[in-house]
């Protein structure tokens, strides 16, 4: 464990700092965090798709073929791009937590 301990206001167990390294190599720590984060993102997408498919099917408003052939317009494309940036930030923000020296 390479992080500095922080003393508490009144005794007890010194608490770990912001970015403890558990796996001896901070790159490995970041990799594990990214894998878990990716799993969260995959679940978010799957949950949304299941919701949408259930609604669409129940309402009889859309065929699967329409989804496959969908082309976003300019505004939609820009919104997708913003979402993509948020997705990448969520997963890969861990890279900023790898300290330059250990």
């Amino acid at each position: 464990m390479s992080e500095l301990a922080q003393q508490t206001p009144e005794g007890g167990t010194p608490i770990a700092g912001e970015n403890p390294i558990y796996l001896k190599d901070p790159v490995l720590d970041a990799t594990v965090r990214m894998v878990v984060e990716l799993a969260a993102q995959v679940w978010i997408e799957r949950e949304r798709r299941m919701t949408l498919e259930s609604l669409l099917e129940a309402q009889g408003t859309l065929s699967r073929a329409a989804i496959e052939s969908f082309k976003p317009d300019a505004a939609q494309a820009a919104a997708f791009k913003r979402e993509r940036a948020r997705f990448i930030e969520d997963v890969f923000k861990e890279l900023r937590r790898i300290p330059p020296t250990v």
């Binding site: 005794g11 167990t13 608490i15 403890p20 594990v32």
Partner: protein, 356 residues
């Protein structure tokens, strides 16, 4: 389901709820049989103990051994990660609707039934300046602390307390005083008031008061109680120095607060509870079990939580003799083991003490 008002704050997006739903499931997986860390690491610890031919002396030895195992280090990484993910998602979701959430609290502050008593001159003692459970801003520095805590504990209890089911169950187990008189109840460190409202439902004619040092928590507690139609007073006061009159309460209650207190404050709080609880009244405590007689893994887990989950005082609490402290301050304790999972990897127990 009956139409129980949803008191959990709404998240900004469906994706936020799905993210936290994942964290809840992942938490269940790594704490339970999914990843099966507990049993496998405990077996390794017991085997190593046999190999060394002597029991584990202290938690430092256990820690060293767990950290020598890749599985132990990965378990720590994942435990920390799920907690960080929870707060990351909650903070982002609430931050994007901060103004609306604060306006919502303001709408409820002056409404009844029940009332909110905040102290504009309240001074926070230094020992509370900790980011308990890694909650950003701790329990009182962010005006949204109560909302963060509410959703955070929903994830912590892994679906067992979405509508205060656990609080209702634990409050139901608290014995009434032998003479049956229950007119006033005090909920110490009530946070968002889930036990307080459960007490109001169990004893509708009693006056229930919940106290806490955190104004943001108390505001959420009050909003919840108003939404639920439960008449409870929430007041900003210190549990170790409540300011209430001697012998004023028939039941004094403390749910998982003692492990968040330095030993000095544990003693002061028990002394204060003895002062404000009438003779024959009950002081009911739910909190973590001691770890001395627990498995090596449980002892390790307590150390990990203390150091890596913002619970700096919890080890001292688990090592102290609560029975002796209660007895020293005039309580008679009935031992009634609980064996309830705390929501984390640890276990809860209870002390039901009578003021003599």
């Amino acid at each position: 389901m009956s139409a129980v008002p949803e008191t959990l704050p709404a998240l900004a997006e469906r994706a936020d709820a799905a993210y936290l739903d994942f964290v809840e499931g992942f938490r269940e997986y790594i704490l339970g049989k999914g990843a099966d860390f507990e049993d496998r690491l405990n077996e390794a610890l017991i085997a190593e103990q046999a190999r060394r031919g002597q029991p584990w002396d202290d938690v430092e030895q256990i820690r060293e051994y767990v950290h020598s195992l890749p599985l132990g280090r990965l378990r720590d990484r994942l435990s920390r990660t799920q907690q960080e993910m929870k707060w990351f998602a909650l903070r982002r979701s609430f931050e994007s609707q901060r103004a609306e959430l604060l306006a919502e609290l303001e709408r409820y502050d002056a409404r009844g039934p029940g009332r909110l008593e905040l102290d504009p001159n309240f001074v926070h003692p230094p020992y509370v300046n900790v980011h308990f459970h890694l909650q950003p801003g701790g329990y009182y520095k962010d005006a949204l602390s109560g909302y963060l805590y509410h959703y955070g504990t929903k994830v912590f209890f892994r679906g067992d307390n979405d509508h205060d089911e656990l609080h209702a169950k634990l409050v139901a187990r608290v014995p009434a005083p032998a003479d049956g008189r229950v007119e006033r109840i005090l909920d110490l460190a009530c946070s968002i008031g889930q036990s307080s409202t459960a007490f109001h439902r169990r004893f509708p004619s009693a006056e229930v008061t919940g106290i806490d040092y955190s104004a943001p928590m108390l505001r959420v507690a009050h909003r919840r109680a108003v939404m639920l139609g439960d008449k409870v007073t929430f007041a900003q006061r210190l549990i170790e120095n409540t300011g209430y009159a001697d012998g004023q309460f028939d039941i004094t209650f403390a749910f998982i607060v003692f492990h968040e207190l330095p030993l000095r404050i544990i003693h002061e709080t028990v002394r204060e509870a003895a002062r404000v609880t009438r003779r024959g009244g009950i002081f009911a405590i739910y909190d973590f079990t001691g770890t001395r007689d627990k498995s090596p893994y449980q002892r390790y887990h307590r150390w990990f939580d203390a150091r890596h989950n913002g619970e700096p005082y919890s080890q001292d609490f688990c090592d102290c003799d609560m029975n002796a402290i209660l007895a020293a301050h005039g309580f008679e304790v009935a031992a009634t083991p609980l064996g309830q999972r705390s929501g984390g990897a640890g276990y809860m127990t209870n002390w039901f003490a009578t003021r003599v």
